[in-house]
Subunit: 647 residues, 2 copies
């Protein structure tokens, strides 16, 4: 409390007090049953910011000042926010500034609504076990990034990782549905991911062709059941964004956490919080310095082409050696290790392509690394990789992720301080050079509580526009009506268009958003109906409907058109292996039909002009009313067909 | 278009034009590829209401007028809305008026986030197949209702149906989690459900003890694989709300759609849209009159007690005969059939307990049935059940569901007109008696588009307060940024506190909400942490942690406390049947941990003081980093333990 009284919210923290957190204290706090994060959280409650509510939920300030960020009935949002869903396994789409959830995209999870994990088409994408069920029904999405052209989103694809089972998924932006999933070989804890922005060599390729994937958990390679922690390694992977096939992997020291890519296509970067390669958490934070590791993409691909590769544990993916010992000569090095203070979490590139901000989670600093200086090191023109660091402002406790506006400012989430700090990159560089009049930190604002990722509107593109910042917070505590022990998270919307940041909305989000991007609405062009010709199994004419038997294998072809299915009933025999193919012949936007089979655990939808199929054994005799599960018409309740399974 | 020009939005429709929709026209329209609903929808776009946006998404009227319904950062909502999630299989909690989604409650679906369908505890509730996987992973929730005391919610339980597999689930309101699921025997298409509000006989029991469940799809009883449509029947079921066990069923003619219950506990009601008992949709709408069927609860339970029951197909649940042929004498009848115009969809009771509104979906009318007159019929004092109808105002096209305020007004959704119509019950009764000066319809407002359920704040209780109405619309079309072929639905918030209804917010909702209730926030009392003692498997002391082997069966006991698990690693042998038990020792509100096992498709969370367990075969040798999937602490990334499976 006394500490708070001494620290006005808009002032800089006392740098002396905050220089490097004490490791022992961090560990000790858990034993007391209270995390550092939570005590910081309680602190905030006792000192609400201007305009923020008191503990009683009352508001100081005018309701009207928030109302202007509301999107009135029928009006459209200005931006999309595409957001990971954490251990829900999905991706979400929100409208900004309203915070309206516009869609959930099932990716690694099952979704009973659309039939994801149930239809044959979705199972083909997810992969299956020998018994035909999905290989995995869980997943942990962390980072979403889209494909680029010339440094700005092209509206073609979105990519998202699964940390749990080390998979990369792709979402088509025209239909907003997942179309490919790839499991990375020999990787555990695939965490950071980023698309490239252009080719490192061919300047004509000014668009995304690769996706980079960082492996966070070091494991024995091969991971065959013997344990020798000294042999643990991590891999950094590259995937072809078009074919969704593996291109190459890099064997590294330490681990990969977040990933960033340069605007010129030459470098990919990953922050490393466990250069110690510890397997216990106190070992993971033993060293005072960790690193930001840079990959020279062109050189890696030359090495692959030259056959300077190995393979691991039956995988055919070429692996190059990116370890420090093998990359001491800058002129041939595939990787460059830039030392960064203590356990950095997050690396982000500025929209002008010049700087990477890499935050030391257990240091109160953000390190600014100059892109051209890293290239100079690879050219043998910079003696020490650490010299690529051109600023290291002290910004607050627990800095994690940084977004950028279009005026040279950076916005970093401070997990422990429960704040967003706005700092000026040019001023930070001046200060690092010794200019005592330079002042890096411009503003700070409380968020509620414990921010993880933070990101600005269009901030991961050349078109960063400096309008909004969203703070995805890990704890909401008292910000919403209580709903039991599992709380919603808060995504707080901050207006960054003025000199001072302004908190304008608390959006609730189902656990647990990790990262998002805010995209201008004009970039996204979606289809409202499918093209029937794209579905090989399409039942193109209702007259093709019927029951087609080949021994015990039976195909049932159906079409839907509100308020009927093309067959009023269809007969099967107990024990048949049945494939139902359903094509929706309705052409009107938003006219989706469902198909549910009672007691058979089958449910899916068909959007306009879409075809889906399911396969199952008709093992329960009886009459089963298959019905439309998605309200479609005044006679929706009457839209049914009978599946009659004869004993 | 010409038709629209002739019909100012605030005027009554021309009764002549709208008297009973032509069946052939409805059927024919589907052949043209356009539903009735959608042409009505397009109509709205060409004639926006005052204050509604133009097709270009621009808004007439002041942004500020909507802003006052916004909930500023940190302020709490006034109401909870508990909402079904349709074929997503879940239940959702929103804040009102903000529209913030506060929680998803997994019920019939799988949820990778919390581990629903993955943990042993959730599987025990869901039921399993012989191989240990959940019996069903799909479901279709339609109606949510809570338990009552003295005509108002008591904040104890919420009940929700699964139409797909005919299950009733219960949600504990203190933890907001599902604790029981019951599959109804011999029922298909369990659609309407409602809690009773007091005992029909014992006046001391002024709270909920029963849940009524309507069977919509008639099936052969028993349903054993032979098909004779003339033998199809439906059942109306009663479940003990405390034990969640079946009490009794009633064999009926026709079907059950929605369900309502009286405030005195004496009657339950269901509207019937298919008294024809047709199996094809044109047969289902052949008759001009269908019905609202009333159940005399006390008499049914006397009959059960007296053993006047049968059983069906191996089920031990007592079944009484509620068919019309067996219930002709009012003085002994178990059921009373009140004729209602053409295919009614929806029956709702007014907060004063006096009237049921039952809407004829294919008639432009709402029928008002007086509760006391139905009781009179059961007493032999009313000759004709139809005489219980005391009003039948013409209100618009496609009337479905009705909510009530505290001033004697009813609000009915008009699916085909895409409107909400406000009508006064007393005026409607006067008009029905012949008073030519009486005017039932008070106001109408456009919604966007095709409303299904509509409901008022506290409107299903004696404390109906006339503040808000929500229209859960089936089509959103152009109301939100496009997200591909699958659209969000709109839940539109309407201020009903004044004389004129006022549309104040478009909330987006993931498909497909069917019904909701709006509950005052003071009624809901949730727990923020669990009680460790409630979990029989709890690992109460971290010192109890360890690997306990019994042949091939291995139990791993773990605790979590940010940022560590109590075991840093644990060893297993390939082929072991492993049960992991994890107790979260953190006590701080909102301090949830996760547990994910790579490649083993296992992921779940433990909320503060909660215990969960999973069982699986350790069939893949190697080192697996089990990690915390729910951001918990500054050292969250470091919170891991290694599962080492020896080959």
């Amino acid at each position: 409390m006394a500490q708070d009284d001494n620290k006005p919210l808009d002032n800089l923290p006392d740098p002396g007090r905050r220089k490097f957190l004490n490791t022992a204290a961090l560990v000790g706090l858990s034993g007391a049953g209270l995390s550092v994060g939570l005590s910081a959280c309680n602190k905030k409650e006792s000192a609400p910011a201007a305009g923020a509510p008191s503990a009683q939920g009352e508001v100081k300030g005018e309701v009207g000042e928030f109302g202007k960020y509301e999107v009135p009935p029928g009006q459209l949002d200005d931006y999309y926010s595409f957001s990971s869903g954490g251990h829900s396994g999905e991706v979400r789409i929100y409208g900004i500034p309203s915070g309206r959830e516009l869609k959930r995209i099932p990716v690694f999870n099952m979704d009973a609504l659309v039939g994801w994990g149930i239809t044959n088409e979705s199972k083909a994408i997810l992969g299956t076990k020998p018994n035909g069920t999905p290989k995995y029904t869980t997943g942990d999405t962390h980072h979403v990034h889209q494909s680029y052209v010339d440094g700005v989103y092209d509206g073609k694809y979105m990519f998202v990782n699964d940390k749990l089972h080390s998979r990369l998924a792709r979402v088509r932006m025209d239909t907003m549905e997942c179309d490919k999933i790839l499991e990375l070989p020999n990787v555990q804890g695939f965490h950071g991911t980023f698309t490239d922005k252009r080719d490192p060599v061919d300047s004509k390729i000014n668009y995304t062709t690769r996706v980079f994937c960082g492996g966070e958990f070091a494991i024995p390679l091969p991971n065959a059941g013997t344990d020798d922690a000294s042999k643990y390694r991590s891999l950094f992977s590259c995937v072809n964004s078009d074919t969704m096939e593996m291109m190459w992997q890099v064997l590294i020291d330490g681990n990969c956490d977040l990933v960033a890519t340069s605007y010129d296509g030459k470098l990919a970067a990953t922050n490393q919080y466990n250069t110690e390669m510890g397997v216990h958490y106190e070992d993971m934070m033993a060293a005072e310095m960790d690193a930001c590791l840079f990959f020279n993409v062109a050189r890696i691909e030359e090495a692959v082409k030259a056959g300077k590769v190995t393979t691991i544990a039956g995988s055919k993916v070429p692996v190059v050696d990116g370890t420090r010992a093998s990359n001491k000569d800058p002129k041939t090095a595939l990787t460059c290790t830039v030392p960064i203070p203590k356990n950095p979490h997050g690396v982000n590139i500025s929209p002008d392509g010049k700087y990477y901000a890499c935050s030391g989670k257990l240091s109160p600093t953000a390190s600014v690394i100059e892109h051209d200086l890293v290239l100079k090191w690879f050219d043998g023109e910079l003696a020490n990789p650490r010299d690529a660091v051109v600023a290291e402002p002290e910004i607050g406790l627990g800095p994690l992720h940084t977004g950028f506006d279009n005026k040279g400012n950076a916005y970093t989430t401070l997990f422990l301080d429960s704040q967003i700090v706005k700092w000026n990159v040019a001023e930070a560089i001046k200060a690092y050079k010794g200019d005592k009049n330079a002042k890096a930190v411009v503003d700070r604002i409380d968020v509620h509580y414990q921010p993880g990722h933070g990101f600005t509107s269009m901030g991961e593109t050349k078109d960063s526009d400096g309008k909004y910042f969203i703070s995805d917070n890990k704890f909401s505590k008292d910000r919403f009506l209580p709903v039991g022990p599992l709380h919603a998270e808060t995504a707080q919307l901050i207006d960054i268009s003025g000199d001072k940041m302004k908190l304008v909305a608390d959006h609730s989000v189902y656990s647990e958003p990790h990262d998002s991007i805010i995209v201008r609405r004009d970039i996204i062009k979606t289809r409202q109906i499918y093209n029937m010709d794209e579905f090989p199994l399409a039942v193109k004419d209702p007259k093709e409907s019927g029951v087609f038997r080949n021994g015990k294998k039976v195909t049932v072809k159906l079409t839907s058109q509100a308020p009927t299915y093309s067959l009023r009933e269809f007969k099967l025999k107990k024990g048949d292996e049945v494939t139902i193919i359903l094509t929706n012949h309705d052409k009107v936007e938003d006219l989706t039909h469902g198909f549910g089979i009672p007691k058979y655990d089958i449910q899916f939808i068909v959007n306009p002009q879409e075809t889906k199929s399911v396969t199952f054994i008709a093992d329960k005799p009886g009459v089963y009313w298959c019905y439309c599960t998605n309200f479609c018409h005044a006679l929706h309740l009457e839209m049914r067909t009978r599946m009659i399974v004869e004993a």
